[in-house]
C-alpha cells in the first residue's frame, strides 16, 4: 500500500515499491525497471490509475517492484488479463511486462489478438532470448545453435522475430530499444505511452546468467555507433560514429542496403527518410540485422478496441435499473394465470 500525496510531483523513486528486487545482480531487468520508473515520473503518471500486468518469468516479476497496482498472473496470459482490465475500466493506464518465453512461446496467441484488437495498453517484451526463470532453456527467439539444458547439442529451431511477428499480427505501434540505453528507452516508452492502442516495445535485455552478451555485437559501446541505427520519424536513416553511414532502398531488389555518404557517389539525398506510418518500411527495417534498427519502427494509430466498444455501447455510466430489467424479462410472448 502506498499513499502518495498528489501535491508535489513524483520522482522516479516514488514509483518503486517497498519490495526488495530479486533479480540476479547485473541482470538487465534492473535497467528496464529504472527506465520505466523514470518514464512514469516524466509523464506524471497517477500510481492509482496505473496497472502493471505480467505473466511468469524473471521479467514478469516486474509489477512487484512498482508502487502502482500490479497483477502477476500466469504464464503467457498477461495480454488476456490486461484486455479484461482495460475493457472493464478504460480509464486505467495498463502496462504489460512479459518475456520472450511468456509472450512468444506459451503466450503467442494472446499477443496476436491483443495486437490485432488494438487494445490500448503498452506491452514491454523483455527479450533475453532465453527462459531465465526456469534456468536457461532456449526460447523461441534463441538463435539456432543455442546450447542450453534442453538443447545440449545446440538448438535446431528457427527463431521468430518479435517485431516482425507484431507487424504480421497487425500491431499499430512497434518499437525496439535496449535495457541499458536509458535515454533511448525512456523516450521510446514515452512514445509508446502516448500512442492510443496497443503499443509493442521489444527491449533487448541481457540475461547475465544464462545468455550473457548475446546482444553484445550491437550493444557494446565500441560497436554501437556502427551497429545501431536510431530511427526517427521524418529524419534520414543515418548512423555511424560520424553519422555518415545511411540506409538506402534498392528498388530493383526491394531491399535495403547500407551505404556511406561520399562513397560511390552516395549523397544524403539517397538516404531513406524514416516514415513511421509505412508498414513496408518498418518490416524491412525490422529484418535488418546489421545495423540493428532501434526506436519507433512503426506507428500508425487506428481506433482501439476499448474505444470502439465504448463508442458502440454508447454512454451508459450505470448498470440497468430494476425496471429496465423487469421490462427485459417481460419482452416477447407472455400470459397471465389468474388467481
Amino acid at each position: 500500500m502506498n499513499v502518495v500525496s498528489p501535491i508535489k510531483p513524483l520522482t522516479a523513486k516514488d514509483y518503486a515499491s517497498d519490495q526488495e528486487v530479486r533479480w540476479c545482480p547485473g541482470c538487465g531487468d534492473y535497467a528496464v525497471l529504472k527506465a520505466v520508473q523514470k518514464t512514469l515520473a516524466d509523464i506524471a503518471a497517477d500510481p492509482a490509475r496505473t496497472v502493471f500486468v505480467s505473466g511468469i518469468g524473471c521479467s514478469s516479476r516486474f509489477p512487484y517492484y512498482m508502487s502502482t497496482y500490479g497483477f502477476h498472473t500466469i504464464h503467457g496470459r498477461a495480454p488476456a488479463v490486461a484486455t479484461g482490465v482495460k475493457l472493464a475500466n478504460p480509464d486505467l493506464d495498463v502496462w504489460i511486462a512479459t518475456g520472450d518465453g511468456d509472450a512468444l512461446s506459451i503466450g503467442g496467441n494472446h499477443l496476436l489478438h491483443l495486437l490485432r484488437r488494438n487494445v490500448d495498453v503498452q506491452l514491454l517484451l523483455f527479450n533475453n532470448e532465453i527462459y531465465g526463470l526456469t534456468k536457461g532453456q532456449y526460447s523461441p527467439t534463441s538463435r539456432p545453435g543455442t546450447r542450453s539444458p534442453s538443447s545440449p547439442g545446440g538448438s535446431v529451431e528457427r527463431p521468430v522475430s518479435p517485431v516482425l511477428f507484431a507487424l504480421g499480427a497487425g500491431a499499430r505501434f512497434v518499437a525496439r530499444s535496449i535495457d541499458t540505453a536509458q535515454k533511448h528507452l525512456v523516450e521510446v516508452l514515452k512514445q509508446a505511452h502516448a500512442h492510443r492502442g496497443a503499443s509493442f516495445v521489444e527491449i533487448f535485455q541481457n540475461c547475465i546468467v544464462y545468455n550473457d552478451e548475446v546482444f553484445a555485437a550491437f550493444t557494446e559501446k565500441q560497436v554501437s555507433a556502427d551497429a545501431q541505427v536510431h530511427v526517427e520519424h521524418g529524419k534520414p536513416l543515418l548512423f555511424g560514429a560520424d553519422r555518415r553511414k545511411g540506409i538506402r532502398l534498392v528498388p530493383s531488389r526491394l531491399e535495403l542496403e547500407t551505404v556511406r555518404i561520399g562513397e560511390d557517389g552516395v549523397t544524403e539525398a539517397d538516404i531513406l527518410v524514416h516514415d513511421r506510418t509505412n508498414r513496408t518500411l518498418a518490416t524491412m527495417l525490422a529484418t535488418m540485422t546489421l545495423p540493428v534498427a532501434l526506436g519507433v519502427l512503426y506507428c500508425d494509430p487506428a481506433e482501439s478496441l476499448d474505444a470502439a466498444m465504448h463508442a458502440a455501447a454508447g454512454e451508459r455510466p450505470a448498470g440497468p435499473t430494476a425496471s429496465e430489467l423487469d421490462a427485459l424479462l417481460r419482452r416477447g410472448d407472455t400470459w397471465t394465470v389468474a388467481g
Binding site: S67, R77, V85, A88, N89, L325
Partner: protein, 628 residues
C-alpha cells in the same frame, strides 16, 4: 397414477373430446422443414391455454445436412398437461413425421400404440432410400404397433398455399404450419395468436404470411372434417393449476443470462462476460451480446483461456467477471481458474455440460463434468459449485452464484447441461424491483489496508480496485503472505493460506440453506438423490411412487460444493440412497466419501436424459429387494 397414454383402443369416441392429463407430442422433419419454428408456436399457444409444459429441441449435429438424410432430422418435443410438468416427456404419444428419415429416427422412441402422423407426399423412393428404408414402411405391416395417420401433407399444403401466388418451393415450406394446424385442432388450441405472430414475422413478405396462415387453417380444417367422418379424434387437456402471475416460456440459456444480469444488478456491479463459442454453451453468449444497451459488456475471446483470463482481469478491475463454456473449454480454463482461487477474486464460470470425453457428442447431454468442476485444477484449489435443475431454475442459480462469488471473494462454478440450456418451461417472472439487493462494497480506506486481511465471518479479503487512490498493491499466483499479500515461501504461511482457502467453503456452508426433501418422507427406506437436470424425471417418478404409497423420497442438490451442512445427517436417516446420474457415478462418489453412506449409483451415459420410467423401475427394484 395419472396416465399419459392416449386412450387409443377407443378409436372413434363421440364428443365431448376425451380429456387427457398430459400429452407428449414430437414434431420431426428435415432441418429445412421449420420444425423448431412450428414447435415453438405450438408451445406458445399451449402456454396461453394455461397448460404447464416442457419443451426440448433436438437439433442435428450437422449444421445443415443434405436434405432427407437421417442425420439431418430436426425434432421438437413438447410435454404439456393439466398438472405440473417437470420434463419434456419420456416417449411421445403423438409423433408428426414430415419425411421418411424423421419416421426412421423417431419411431423407435415413440410410445407403442401412439399416434403417428406421416406426410405421405414425402415418401418418394429417393427419400426412402436416403432414410435407409429398403421398402416403404407404410406399405407393409412394420408399423402395426402404432396408430398411423397417413396424410399427403405436401399436396394439401401446396393446394392451400397456391391461391397466394407463392412459388412451389415457398408453398412447400408451409408444411410445418399445416401440420401444427392439425395438431391445434387435435388439442383444441386457438389459432388467433399464431396468425398475428405470422403476420408480424413476415411483415416484409405478406404473401408468405398469408400462405402459412392458409396452411395452418387448412390443417385445422382437415382435422375438423376427419372428426366428422370419424377418422380422427380430438382431445382436450385442461388448464393446469399454476400459481397466479405473469408467465413466459424461457430456455435455460436465457434464464442463465438474465440471472447473471439481475445478479450483478443486485450486487451493484457491472457485468463483464467473456466467452468463446462452443456447443451447447453459446446461447448464453448470444443472449448477453444482445444486452449491450443494458450496460453488459461481452467479449468474444480468442479461446477459452483468454476468456477466463479476461474475466479475471475484469473482476480485478472491479466488474463481475463471468465466463462460460462447455466441457472441453472448462478443461482449458483449469489453470487460470487456479489463479482466481489464489487471487481470491469473485468470478462466475458457467459450464454447460455435453457428452464427452474429448469432443464427444456436442449436441447430446450429460452430467459428466462434476468431478472436473470440483477437482480439475492442480494444487488445493477450492471453488464453490452449484448446479441448475431446470431451465427456470437457471435464473435463481445464477443469482446465487453471483451472491456467493462476491460475498466470499471466490470463484463459483455453475453447472448446466445441453438439455437445460435448450429446453423451455413456463416461467412466472419475478419482479426485480422487489428482489433483495446484496451490494458489494469496494474497499477504499487506505488506513491499515492489507490486501489479504479478512472479514472474520466470510473470510473474504477486501476488494480494492485499481483506480482507487492509496490502495495500490500487488497480487499474483505465487503463495502470498496471509496479510500483506507479498510473496511468501514460509511453510507455516502456506499451511495457513491453504487452510483458509479451504475454510471459505465451510463459511459458505454456514451461509446456504439446509437441504430439504423435495417430496416424500424425511426418513425412511430409500432416498433418491439427484443434481442438475435429472430433477424432472426423478421428481415425476418419485411423485407418482409416493402417491402409490412407496416409502421413497427425492432429495435434489443445488449446492454441490460445499454441500448443505445437514446433508450427511439427512442421508443417514434413510436405509438406502440411490443416486441417478447421467455419468458413471460422480455425485455418488462424493456422498460415499463425505458421509460414508452406502449410496448406490443409477447411471446412464447415452447422451439422453433419464426416462421417468427408468427411475421408477430402479426405485421399485430397490424397494422390493428390501422386502423381508
Amino acid at each position: 397414477m395419472p396416465t399419459t397414454t392416449l386412450p387409443l383402443p377407443n378409436l372413434h369416441p363421440l364428443p365431448p373430446r376425451a380429456s387427457l392429463d398430459s400429452v407428449v407430442v414430437r414434431f420431426a422433419g428435415d432441418s429445412g422443414d421449420g420444425i423448431q419454428l412450428a414447435g415453438n408456436r405450438f408451445a406458445a399457444v399451449t402456454a396461453l391455454a394455461g397448460n404447464d409444459l416442457g419443451t426440448f429441441p433436438d437439433f442435428p449435429a450437422e449444421i445443415r445436412a443434405p436434405v432427407g438424410t437421417t442425420y439431418g432430422v430436426s425434432a421438437f418435443q413438447i410435454n404439456f398437461g393439466a398438472r405440473a410438468i417437470k420434463t419434456s416427456g419420456d416417449s411421445p404419444d403423438v409423433l408428426v413425421a414430415l419425411n421418411p428419415a424423421a419416421l426412421k429416427v423417431e419411431l423407435p422412441r415413440t410410445k407403442p400404440g401412439g399416434i403417428v402422423i406421416v406426410d405421405t407426399g414425402s415418401f418418394t423412393e429417393r427419400n426412402l432410400r436416403k432414410a435407409g428404408y429398403a421398402a416403404d414402411p407404410l406399405a407393409d405391416d412394420s408399423l402395426a404397433d402404432y396408430r398411423i395417420i397417413s396424410i399427403d401433407v405436401s399436396k394439401l399444403t401446396l393446394e392451400a398455399a397456391k391461391p397466394f401466388g407463392v412459388s412451389q418451393h415457398d408453398a412447400l415450406r408451409c408444411k410445418n404450419f399445416w401440420a401444427i394446424g392439425l395438431i391445434y385442432w387435435m388439442f383444441d388450441r386457438d389459432r388467433a395468436s399464431t396468425v398475428s405472430w405470422l403476420k408480424k414475422r413476415f411483415t416484409d413478405e405478406p404473401i408468405i404470411a398469408q400462405a402459412n396462415i392458409a396452411a395452418l387453417n387448412a390443417g385445422h380444417a382437415f382435422g375438423e372434417t376427419a372428426e366428422l367422418n370419424g377418422d380422427l379424434v380430438g382431445y382436450s387437456v385442461a388448464a393446469a393449476e399454476l400459481r397466479p402471475g405473469l408467465y413466459r416460456t424461457i430456455t435455460g440459456g436465457e434464464a442463465l443470462a438474465w440471472g447473471l444480469v439481475v445478479g450483478t444488478h443486485l450486487a451493484e456491479l457491472k457485468l463483464f462476460f467473456a466467452s468463446y463459442p462452443i456447443t451447447p454453451a453459446s446461447p448464453l453468449l448470444h443472449a448477453l451480446a444482445r444486452l449491450r444497451s443494458l450496460g453488459v459488456t461481452t467479449f468474444q475471446a480468442e479461446d477459452e483461456i483468454a476468456a477466463i483470463c479476461a474475466a479475471i482481469g475484469a473482476s480485478y478491475a472491479g466488474s463481475l467477471g463471468v465466463t462460460s463454456s462447455s466441457g472441453p473449454g472448462l478443461a482449458l480454463k483449469s489453470e487460470a481458474l487456479g489463479l482466481a482461487v489464489a487471487a481470491e477474486l469473485p468470478l462466475v464460470v458457467v459450464n454447460t455440460q455435453r457428452a464427452g470425453p474429448s469432443t464427444g457428442m456436442p449436441t447430446k447431454t450429460e452430467q459428466s463434468d462434476l468431478m472436473q468442476a470440483l477437482f480439475g485444477r492442480h494444487g488445493e484449489s477450492p471453488v464453490a459449485v452449484l448446479a441448475a435443475r431446470a431451465p427456470t431454475d437457471c435464473f435463481e442459480t445464477a443469482i446465487e452464484a453471483v451472491r456467493i462469488a462476491t460475498k466470499f471473494m471466490i470463484p463459483v462454478l455453475v453447472l448446466s447441461d445441453g438439455y437445460i440450456a435448450n429446453a423451455a418451461q413456463p416461467w412466472r417472472m419475478p419482479s426485480v424491483e422487489t428482489m433483495a439487493p446484496f451490494p458489494v462494497h469496494f474497499h477504499t480506506d487506505p488506513v491499515g489496508f492489507e490486501p489479504y486481511a479478512r472479514n472474520p465471518e466470510t473470510l473474504a479479503r477486501p476488494w480494492a480496485v485499481p483506480g482507487t487512490p492509496g490502495m495500490e498493491h500487488r497480487i499474483g499466483g505465487l503463495e502470498k503472505d496471509s496479510l500483506s499479500g507479498d510473496i511468501s515461501y514460509s511453510p507455516a504461511n502456506h499451511q495457513q493460506m491453504t487452510d483458509t482457502r479451504a475454510a471459505k467453503l465451510d463459511r459458505i456452508a454456514r451461509d446456504i440453506p439446509e437441504q430439504t426433501v423435495e417430496i416424500g418422507p424425511e426418513s425412511g427406506r430409500l432416498a433418491v438423490v439427484g443434481w442438475g437436470s435429472t430433477y424432472g424425471p426423478i421428481n415425476r417418478a418419485i411423485s407418482s411412487l409416493v402417491e402409490r404409497g412407496c416409502d421413497v423420497a427425492h432429495i435434489h442438490l443445488r449446492h454441490l460444493c460445499p454441500m448443505p451442512r445437514n446433508l450427511g445427517e439427512l442421508l443417514s436417516r434413510y436405509d438406502r440412497v440411490l443416486v441417478p446420474e447421467m455419468n458413471k457415478g460422480q455425485l455418488v462418489t462424493l456422498l460415499r466419501a463425505h458421509y460414508l453412506v452406502p449410496a448406490e449409483g443409477l447411471n446412464k451415459v447415452s447422451g439422453q436424459p433419464f426416462k421417468i420410467e427408468e427411475i421408477e423401475t430402479a426405485v421399485l427394484a430397490r424397494l422390493e429387494q428390501q422386502e423381508p
